[in-house]
Symmetry: C2
Subunit: 466 residues, 2 copies
């Protein structure tokens, strides 16, 4: 039995313990966006440091003005093997609306579903379950062979779900210890439950919270309705004007840098036979609502968007209150593709808002870090090796795919650490990752660990500086 | 010393006790719109029943499917004096945003301000302080003279701030015991702190909560942004389309029944020398935002409006969450004037929403009772008597004025009990009645009681069936 086969066998035998460890991490309610959970984030970081130390990593918590980073290093047997830097994040999304969860979000459990067993709980898929696939792969390599097949560093962030305010300074200050030959990121999904996927495109992001202030205090709409400006109405107008009747975004210059798809990519994507209709039907929809003339897949992977992710103003409780509020707020995000410039789009958005600001209204903005879209070079040796390793593990061969989401760290790894990233993840479309009842397929967890075992083996066959 | 003078003197001497009683009522957090405060509403009703009994009323609590009504009756000395029905409401508005209150909303206190002493607390002006001006007037009439000068019934509602769902059936079922010669309502304001006011116009109201549902669950904007419809965006478009660029409401037929102001009313209002600029500046504004071509006063008293009183959807907590929500909700209200038909406007609003509903979206409505505007007949004997009594009490003569608010009960008293209403109130523009830090001027409370003492005296000089 080869070394690789023995490690895979150990993974199979160790699943109950691996699940036990994942559940410990899932029980920590590390919601990074809400300051009330600061200590939970600290606890999750500490838990990871201990875990890495148990597997022979030199590991430490690095405190930041926000939530801490966790970094670990371990040399492999073969000094000439490449140095790999793995990235994951231990923070999770908020859980509201809590009443829609069928089980408490931080009491993880295995559930039988028609599609097989799943791990239910906040963070199961995004990203605790995913990052633990890699940690467990390292554990069993070391347990079976006494060491890792490559030089491995790990880097866990606790602010991915809240705009990563500490990420750029941390990468810049720790360039030396984080610089490696290739980054591995496990925060993406599979094409379907049998088809492993390497993500080769990520949309970028501009996120802005905009608050309109009108009267200096909340007013009674009987006493003031008419002459007093209503900031909700002002905000409605501003947001409604962001799209034209065809669903195109109206900001001047917004589409600068948006490439038309090459025929070869169109062909590749078309060969995936994506069922846009079924994709929409699974969430209660029937018609693609994005730009006309693009398939559902193209709308998600290759077209930019603008969406309102949250809005609030006035009285929003039970019943009615005839208030003219002093302020109204919206959280707006843009998903970017190709060469779109986040700074230019932020500027255009500010101008759009200011152009529509009536007398007596003021505006304030809170920025979530912007990031450009990422397009990977897929014709390199490690990409082909990873594709082969994944194809060996799963029912179907691995595919290259786009991704509608934004993983800003990939851009920062490129610009600050000057490294390419290999994005492999085992999430599924119905994981409900920012929604109530998040889950991670048990098969994803199990075969995910096995996949990383294989990828570590494959990549270790290279000389360093791949 | 006349009977009237002796009663007024007793009022002056009894102010500490009257304030003590008002504070007891203000301490009860009777927020009718929120089911969590159901028992508090019951407590407020019971407190009023006890209070009325103490002053010699036959009083009882009448339970309804919502919050209870309180009714009391007391015959006066002179059987030929008119029968007066006083209306007030003991429920109050919600207190959020609580963090903007400088003192706890249900711990009333006397505060020194540059404009004199005020009673601070939720409900101080709307409407507990106001209704107690009448109750205290009755108390001192009886205390000094042994009885009331007229036949008095009182009727207190506990659902005025939550759409009065039980009001119409209750009025219909209790016509017999509530029918009187004239209704007195104390829920309006003064022209200024020296000028008592009889309100002769009230705007009507249509209130609707509209909820748009798109996807069947909250989605991740990375995975679905583009092809998935966003209900916040749909709602923004619907709400933005309610007004044109001139601030006119776009619903077809909306202005049917809106009268142009007569020259005589225009003249009368103009003689009030309303300082629209100062009115707006007191709330941080400088330009009237309503329909062009109308003064601030006309925009409030004589023109209809449409406002969004609340909006919510998606993630509204701290930080950012890139969610595409399943639903978005707004509370929309229309203020009506003249002969505008609430039913027709509700229908036009529904049509407006449905016309803008894209595929895959559904809508649901929750209705707050609609009411027509009210225009009083001001050339009657009791109106002139009340005007004289008020002018005797205050620095300036009483004026007739419009009112931008809606007091639906006045319309129901007219149509169901077939009675006219005399609207006298002592609120001031800066009472912050639906806002944090609500207050009622101590002078309003004191002179308010004295005003009702005088009005009771004046009206009792009439034969019944005035």
């Amino acid at each position: 039995m080869s070394e690789l086969e023995r490690v895979l066998e150990a993974v199979d035998g160790g699943m109950p313990e691996a699940l036990g460890r994942l559940f410990e991490l899932l029980k920590i309610d590390s919601i990074s966006t809400d300051p009330a959970y600061k200590e939970s984030c600290l606890n999750a970081a500490n838990w990871l440091v201990d875990e890495l130390k148990n597997i022979g990593f030199e590991a430490a918590r690095h405190d930041t003005p926000g939530h801490p980073m966790v970094v670990g290093h371990q040399k492999g047997t073969n000094k000439d093997a490449p140095h790999l830097l793995f990235y994951g994040h231990y923070d999770v999304q908020p859980v509201d609306p809590l009443e829609l969860w069928n089980t408490p979000p931080f009491e993880p459990a295995i559930e039988e579903t028609p599609a097989g067993k799943v791990i239910r709980g906040r963070g199961a898929a995004d990203d605790k379950g995913q990052l633990m696939t890699f940690v467990e792969a390292c554990r069993y390599w070391r347990q079976v062979t006494g060491s890792l097949p490559a030089n491995v560093s790990l880097f866990f962030e606790g602010e991915e779900e809240s705009g990563s305010p500490s990420l750029i300074p941390f990468l810049e200050e720790n360039k030396q210890q984080l610089k490696a030959d290739l980054a591995l990121v496990c925060d993406t999904g599979m094409w379907d439950s049998n088809t492993p996927t390497i993500s080769t495109m990520l949309r970028g992001m501009v996120g802005e919270e905009v608050t309109i202030t009108g009267p200096s205090l909340d007013l009674h709409s009987g006493m003031y309705g008419g002459p007093a400006i209503n900031p909700i109405r002002v905000l409605n107008r501003i947001l409604a004007d962001l799209h034209d009747d065809n669903g195109q975004i109206t900001l001047p210059g917004f589409y600068d840098g948006v490439p038309e798809l090459s025929d070869s990519i169109k062909q590749q994507w078309s060969s995936l036979n994506h069922d846009g209709q079924a994709f929409l039907e699974s969430v209660g929809l029937s018609e693609p609502a994005g730009e006309k003339g693009y398939s559902v897949l193209e709308q998600i992977w290759a077209r930019p968007t603008c969406d309102v992710n949250g809005i609030s103003g006035g009285y929003t409780g039970e019943g009615f209150k005839t208030v003219l509020p002093s302020t109204a707020t919206a959280k707006v995000s843009f998903r970017l593709v190709g060469d779109q410039d986040p700074d230019a789009i932020q500027k255009a958005f500010y101008q759009h808002v200011r152009d529509r600001l009536p007398p007596d209204c003021s505006v304030s903005f809170k920025t979530k870090d912007g990031s450009k879209a990422t397009v990977m070079q897929v014709d390199s040796v490690p990409f082909r090796q990873a594709q082969r390793a994944l194809s060996d593990e799963w029912e179907n061969d691995a595919v290259y795919a786009g991704c509608g989401g934004s993983i800003p760290v990939v851009g920062h790894i490129k610009t600050i650490l000057e490294m390419d990233s290999l994005l492999v993840g085992f999430g599924l479309d119905d994981d409900a990752i920012h929604s109530p009842n998040e889950k991670y397929s048990l098969k994803s967890f199990h075969k995910g660990i096995r996949s990383w075992v294989r990828i570590l083996d494959a990549l270790s066959k290279n000389q360093s500086n791949i």
